[in-house]
């Protein structure tokens, strides 16, 4: 039986752990609200942007000289995976889930004989992927100094990707991130960004004829790189909200577990304290009887 002193120490250590996890949970809750707001703020832009892209793609999409960002390179040998995760851990399965999805995709592509290149955004994803796919890493984007993800950060990532595309380093690019559903569920998602996936172009309303200034091709050429940045930006924001949501529920669980443990330990402590008292009494009584 552990002695009383040890039990007391354990209880106080679990208590301070609970304090820490509780504080982390509250910080995550506050950050989550901000991250969610940011994600919501960016939604109008993304929605409109996609609507216009769809219209343009519908009118140019089939043309032979469609931009490569839309039509692709005509090949799909080299795949670029952009794996976006958090910079910090202690957020449940958040990072692991994204890494798992990316690993499955990489394994799948390799099995098909394709070449895989990986860019990681966020330290945790890099660590998770390094053991199995470290040799495929070509770049890493560090966002640990960034307090609030801005459009400029997304643009920087997009520029790096586009530069490689122009240099012919890959044919298809996909991003991996976690979609924020609600606090308890974040869905790891993959999304193709190059060639641009504009969705079903058939449902576009063809009633209104838009005039284009300059012409469609020029606008499309201007818009497509922005589209990549926009998609990365919204993925980063979703990721930010998901990370905080995941951390909040992970820390909530940890707090609850610590509470349960304290209860259990306290019962054990009280029991052994009583056993000690009983023992002492027995000793005294038997001592008195012996006289």
């Amino acid at each position: 039986m552990p002695n009383l002193k040890d039990l007391k120490n354990r209880i106080s250590s679990v208590k301070s752990t609970r304090k820490i996890t509780k504080a982390m949970q509250m910080v995550a809750a506050a950050k989550l609200r901000r991250a969610q707001e940011a994600a919501e703020m960016s939604r109008p832009y993304t929605e409109r942007f996609n609507a216009v892209m769809k219209k343009l793609a519908a009118s140019v999409g089939d043309a032979e000289n469609a931009p490569r960002l839309l039509a692709g390179t005509g090949d799909d040998k080299v795949h670029l995976l952009v794996v976006m995760t958090a910079e910090r851990g202690l957020c449940g399965g958040f990072n692991a889930n994204i890494a798992k999805l990316a690993k499955a995709e990489a394994a799948d592509l390799l099995a098909q004989g394709k070449t895989v290149k990986i860019i990681t955004v966020g330290k945790k994803g890099r660590d998770a992927m390094r053991r199995d796919y470290g040799s495929y890493f070509i770049d890493h984007v560090d966002l640990s100094d960034v307090k609030r993800v801005g459009y400029a950060d997304a643009q920087a990532v997009a520029e790096g990707v586009l530069k490689r595309f122009d240099a012919g380093e890959f044919d298809v690019a996909k991003i991996f991130y976690s979609k924020f559903e609600n606090v308890v569920s974040q869905i790891p998602t993959k999304q193709q960004i190059i060639p641009a996936d504009v969705g079903d172009t058939e449902e576009v309303d063809t009633e209104t004829f838009y005039e284009y200034e300059p012409d469609e091709e020029a606008i499309l050429a201007d818009l497509l790189p922005r589209g990549v940045a926009t998609q990365i930006f919204s993925a980063l924001l979703e990721n930010g909200a998901s990370e905080q949501g995941a951390r909040m529920s992970a820390m909530d669980n940890a707090t609850r577990n610590a509470g349960d443990m304290i209860d259990k330990l306290t019962i054990e402590y009280n029991r052994s304290r009583q056993a000690v008292i009983t023992n002492e009494l027995i000793e005294i009584i038997s001592g008195a009887e012996a006289l």
Partner: protein, 141 residues
């Protein structure tokens, strides 16, 4: 005929304005244009400049740095890469934008030695930026 249109100005980070407007003047890539209700549907890219909105609630100006605009008979949406209300535009923020444009020009001049295209574009971007400064009374230096 309706005399106002729905005007929305959005940047990737937020929605800056969503108001009814009588007329909106937009710095289009091929020249400034003013759109009013029942304008013919048009999609145009923007160059850096000032978006001016006049509506029942008064006039307002925004500095934008490129992006595009979608105009239809009943609504005008400006999707700007960066957008700031004119009164929020500070000398420092403006300076940063001008510096970014200057860097871009220097970079273009270095990278594209024998191709005038990108260099001219960057030069135009810079002069557009300077023109904004003149308009709102901030100095580029």
């Amino acid at each position: 005929m309706a005399d106002t249109v729905q005007f929305d100005l959005v940047s990737p980070e937020r929605l800056l304005a969503s108001v009814a407007a009588r007329e909106v003047s937009i710095p289009g890539a091929e020249g400034n244009l003013t759109a009013m209700a029942d304008h013919a549907p048009l999609i145009t890219t923007l160059r850096p400049g000032i978006v001016r909105v006049s509506g029942p609630e008064g006039d307002k100006e925004y500095v934008v740095t490129g992006g595009f605009a979608e105009i239809s008979g009943s609504s005008i949406s400006v999707l700007a890469e960066q957008a700031v209300a004119r009164e929020d535009m500070t000398q420092d923020a403006y300076k940063a934008m001008v510096n970014a444009a200057t860097d871009k020009l220097a970079h273009a001049q270095e990278t594209f030695v024998n191709e005038p295209g990108p260099v001219d574009e960057a030069a135009k971007l810079l002069s557009d930026m300077v023109a904004i400064g003149d308009h709102i009374g901030l100095s580029a230096n």
